[in-house]
Symmetry: C2
Subunit: 205 residues, 2 copies
């Protein structure tokens, strides 16, 4: 039964499964099992099977999962079959790192526009992108039909920028600012927070 | 009974609980419940109670958790009562962003040293830090008794840099490079990967 909406916590684990599958494929493996994935991810194999069962039947009892097929299915479920254009707000050091040595390149997302409010930065060229005036944000978002925004501005400006993004029509936001941001219902926000990851390791030191 | 080693997946959720508690405290709340936390985190209240029970008794039946007390306990469990010195490898745009607009400042971690292998960068001053020669890494790590390293180098260099960190005595690594890195048993590695977070939102678009 795949009729009920799967819980958010299940959806959040799918990209972890996809990443593990990509690694296995890169190592030359063709087939994997929930037990194999469980060992790599530190998530129980029962949990993995249960998570996947929300979306259909992917493996055969006793033969495991075909890696290429399961990856394709997960990409389809996560709507990653075509490239998503995103906009970046904030043309500082972090923004520059995102554009120039992009961790996004070739991984399903493409920075379609960069915006800043500093007159010194507006008009500068970063590779194929020209830094645009933040006041032109809404027009660009509507014209290019962008749904995802990345926020790389100082933390004092983060809430204000997120408000402007939402007003322009953005519905999914990835924020690098180390502050909690309030968003209305229906808007998704994720945080890139090194502290969370560091705190997951100190327990073991 | 808190005698068995709690599973890694449970330890990984503790920083999420701590962050939610900090937010509640900032909003002026004194008491919370597993139900309240569950709603904010998208994790079931039964799961939260079970996770916490690995570490002791924190709430009273019917009265919930005292936020300040539970935060303190979580910080103690995660060994966050004193500040951790960390080293940063890679003095590029991302490294500069980490040092100058640090998301780490005042949050339990402090960048104690920055290293690079480019002669143009070595010797440059970044605030109170002077960029050091990567060849002096091992000496610094031993002398300052550093256990945590942050890797902000181009992806082609990431594995090499991680190897050098481990050789110098580092046991916990946070990598910003968008590639999988192999580490021996006993070494912890976490990844800062925007793709994972973006993929957690596209499902809903």
């Amino acid at each position: 039964m795949a009729s009920l909406e799967p819980p958010n916590i299940v959806v959040r684990r799918l990209p972890l499964y996809l990443r593990a599958l990509n690694l296995l494929a890169a190592e030359g493996q063709k087939i994997t099992s929930s037990k194999d994935l469980a060992e790599r991810l530190g998530i129980s194999s029962a949990q993995i099977r249960k998570d996947l069962s929300h979306f259909g039947e992917f493996g055969k009892q006793g033969t495991g999962y075909e890696i290429a097929n399961l990856s394709d299915q997960l990409r389809r479920i996560l709507k990653l079959d075509s490239e998503w254009p995103v906009i970046l707000i904030g043309a500082g050091d972090l923004g520059r790192a995102l554009v120039h040595h992009s961790a996004l390149q070739g991984r399903g997302f493409r920075i379609a526009g960069v915006f800043d409010n500093s007159p010194n930065k507006i008009g500068q060229r970063w590779g194929e992108l020209v830094i645009q005036d933040a006041r032109d944000l809404a027009r660009f978002v509507r014209h290019e039909d962008i749904q995802i925004g990345i926020v790389a501005v100082p933390q004092e400006q983060a809430q204000h920028v997120v408000n402007a993004l939402i007003e322009s029509g953005i519905t999914a936001i990835l924020s690098y600012a180390p502050v909690a941001i309030s968003v209305p219902a229906g808007i998704r926000i994720e945080y890139m927070d090194p502290i969370l990851h560091l705190q997951r390791m100190t327990y073991y030191l």
